[in-house]
């Protein structure tokens, strides 16, 4: 007999343990730090953008003199363009992606399926260091001559070609996107194979936590669609570096700028689901855990996730309704887009059903999860206005779109990331976070988020276009200045409230000692809570055997026999009536 997943001795040198580690738990923490750092950077840029919309042309307090010396501290038009470009790119690719995929994926996949590590631990380590390289490219792009990237996060040509952004910064940013794509694909291969091959005995696909389902589907989409962005990036780099004209039309070429939009959104729409799928999974699990009820219609949720993943590859055209698309094609894309709401609705109703009449425990992760449900509903509903051609003709490229995708992509993923951090913090660090500070962080963020993004929806509906340097140059939106100013105050409030988290997080990561009741403080049954906190280097002393699904709560038989309202996935228990969930 031989061991399939042999136990290796834990490394002892500092470098092997904390820097070039192949341990998925360490890599997860590395992605967490790298992601949080860039989240702060992206958030800082957001504050500057908000300042500009509230007080266009006025000098920025504190940092203005240093950042915009040529204009005496006020944001210049070209500086403004760089701000929103880098805000978007940094948040999506270098903050949310590493947090949702790199951090959650690495932490959860082996622990929740009962494996000792990833299928390819060295590839896993490489994926993190390639990611660091991409972040360094981003940082370099911010400081090179002729300035940082400035073509918007969508990087549309001709803006992103040498004609409009001749600087090295734009080139470096496109390279950074290519490199972060390589890192993502390395991770995706690892996650997919690990989930297929390394599930513990008894861990059938329909016994996996929904978190794992979300991560798995997101990885498949990553694997297939990130390379499409790669192809667009390569063509763009050829245009920028070797003077081809694939995307340059008009006097200087006969290329096709719309081609880029096709490739970008062919990737870009799946990408938005790549980011929301892990969040959906994690939140769906939390709703069940803290309602002390089985996840309602678990299999239905799984099939909804699968259906949405497939459909997400077929709807990208809804970003291009006004790009000169044939009406026939436009209507097909509209139909497919609206068809997504059916499985999405099922998923949503399952969440509501799960919490309905549950014994809800309003823990910090649960508060964040409920907040997620709320903001995601708003995001999804506004999506329908954009997916319908007749309304999108008016709303396209307004702040309404910005509000829509901030509710779905920013607000929802932000809340999911923090729900996860609060939930798994004890598992990762062996200490509790302060729950009162956590609740303050939740309520302040929740108020801030809703204030900011509702403000965006309203001004967009009133006709304010996105990406305007000084919106009030247009008389028809001049009266929106006070509303925008209020929105900015909400944004600053949100920014300041993050400090509550920073204090709570740093203090508890670095303070000494090991807390009580740390192995399974939430009383849940998934596999990571059957091992000590933090887990041993090899996770499981013996590979566990799984008997139940991840959501066995409040079963009266269990309560009667064991006196508790939950059952670990590894606890053998014969129900009198065969359950087949």
């Amino acid at each position: 007999m031989s061991e399939l997943q042999p136990i290796h001795a834990a490394p002892t040198s500092f470098i092997k343990k904390h820097i070039f580690s192949t341990d998925h738990k360490v890599i997860a923490k590395q992605f967490l730090w790298a992601g949080l750092l860039f989240l702060a950077l992206g958030g800082f840029l957001a504050m500057l953008i908000r300042w500009q919309w509230a007080f266009p042309g006025e000098a920025v307090p504190f940092v203005g003199q240093g950042m915009f010396p040529s204009s005496d501290g006020s944001i210049t038009p070209s500086g403004y363009t760089k701000l929103f470009t880098n805000h978007g790119l940094i948040m999506i690719f270098f903050a949310i992606t590493p947090l949702l995929i790199g951090f959650f994926g690495n932490l959860l996949i082996p622990l929740q399926i009962g494996a000792r590590d990833m299928a390819f631990p060295r590839l896993n380590m490489a994926s993190f260091w390639v990611f660091v390289l991409s972040q360094l490219l981003v940082l370099a792009s911010l400081v090179v001559p002729l300035g940082a990237a400035a073509a918007g996060w969508t990087t549309y040509p001709p803006l992103s070609t040498n004609i409009a952004t001749p600087g090295l910064g734009q080139t470096l940013m496109v390279m950074a996107l290519f490199v972060v794509g390589i890192s993502t694909i390395m991770g995706a291969i690892n996650y997919i194979v690990t989930i297929i091959g390394f599930r513990a005995p008894g861990m059938g696909y329909f016994k996996m936590p929904l978190s794992i389902w979300g991560l798995w589907l997101a990885s498949i989409l990553n694997l297939l669609f990130v390379p499409v962005l790669g192809s667009a990036g390569l063509l763009l780099l050829f245009d920028r570096l070797f003077d081809t004209q694939f995307f340059i039309a008009g006097a200087s070429g006969n290329g096709d700028p719309i081609l880029f939009q096709h490739l970008f959104w062919l990737f870009g729409h799946p990408e938005v689901y790549i980011l929301i799928l892990p969040a959906w999974g994690v939140i769906a699990d939390f709703l069940s855990f803290f309602s002390r009820k089985p996840s309602y219609f678990y299999k239905g949720s799984v099939w909804a996730l699968v259906t949405i993943s497939i459909l997400s590859a077929l709807v990208y055209g809804h970003h291009m309704f006004v790009a000169g698309m044939s009406p026939m094609l436009g209507k097909s894309f509209m139909l497919l887009t609206l068809a997504i709401s059916i499985p999405a609705e099922l998923l949503f109703l399952n969440w509501l059903h799960t919490i309905w009449k549950g014994s809800i425990r309003l823990t910090v992760p649960m508060l964040f999860s409920l907040g997620f449900v709320f903001v995601f509903a708003l995001g999804g509903l506004t999506g329908i206005h954009l997916g319908t051609i007749s309304t999108d003709l008016y709303l396209h490229d307004t702040m309404f779109v910005v509000g829509h995708f901030h509710f779905t992509l920013a607000a929802a993923t932000f809340l999911a990331v923090f729900a996860g951090i609060y939930f798994w913090f004890p598992k990762m660090f062996g200490r509790h976070m302060n729950q009162r500070l956590g609740k303050i962080h939740f309520w302040t963020s929740f108020i801030g988020i809703n204030g900011v993004f509702t403000g965006q929806l309203i001004v967009g509906y009133a006709g304010q276009h996105r990406r305007l340097y000084d919106p009030y140059e247009y008389t028809f939106i001049k009266h929106l200045q006070p509303l925008n100013e209020w929105t900015t105050y909400f944004a600053f409030f949100l920014g300041v409230s993050s400090l509550v988290f920073v204090v709570n997080f740093f203090w508890n990561v670095f303070r000494r000692g090991h807390d009580e009741n740390i192995d399974n403080p939430w009383e849940v049954g998934t596999l990571e809570w059957t091992v000590p906190s933090p887990p041993h280097h090899h996770n499981f002393d013996t590979i566990p055997t799984v008997f139940h699904g991840p959501h066995e709560y409040s079963n009266p038989e269990v309560k009667k026999a064991l006196g508790k309202d939950w059952l670990a996935q590894t606890e053998k228990f014969s129900f009198s009536k065969q359950d087949d969930s």
């Binding site: 007999m1 031989s2 061991e3 399939l4 997943q5 299928a119 390819f120 694909i185 995706a188 291969i189 690892n190 997919i192 194979v193 297929i196 091959g197 390394f198 599930r199 513990a200 005995p201 008894g202 861990m203 059938g204 694997l223 297939l224 669609f225 990130v226 390379p227 499409v228 790669g230 192809s231 667009a232 390569l234 063509l235 050829f238 070797f242 003077d243 081809t244 004209q245 694939f246 006969n254 290329g255 096709d256 081609l259 096709h262 490739l263 062919l266 013996t542 590979i543």
Partner: protein, 198 residues
Amino acid sequence: MTSLTNTVSPVQAMMIRSSSAMIGMVAFIASWAMLFGGLFFAFGLLRLGSEAWPPVNVINLPIALPAINTGILLSSSVLLMVAMHYLRKGNERATVHALLIATILGIMFVVTQAWLWNEMSGLGLNLSDSHYGGLFYMFTVIHVIHVVVGIGGLLALTINAYRGRYTQESHLPVRLWSMYWHFVGVVWIPMFVLLFLS
């Protein structure tokens, strides 16, 4: 593949490990195919948007040399299958020879490609005058980068086979690199058709 118990027979352990590696390779190839899928999509749109193909006043690409080169790449793939065949039979010497020839054919492909670039740029076909030239260089350069990586792999296989590292039962790297190398050949075919024949 079923989920695993920790203690399994050595043969089972090897099978699970190798099937993980193979799934990983299939996933990698799928990803890579999508990269080329995006590029082919671009080719299609740019080609449809061009009035004449090849455009007037642009040097046309030859057919004969690329056709021969296609033959070279495909025979390299065939030689790799031959190597696999001998490996399964346990004929180590023949395996090493077949691998060596496959590697040399791979190198010949790159040399011929470089020669073609040199020739065409000498005749005045460049990246920036037309999509015809731009697409030719773009596709062939990206493809050759993958070929060069593959040659590195084949070289390592040849050396390891020479040292007797692979046996009838255990030769996972040969199988993985074979998948890689066959795919390099497979994506070349539509490229050859689109760039040189259409």
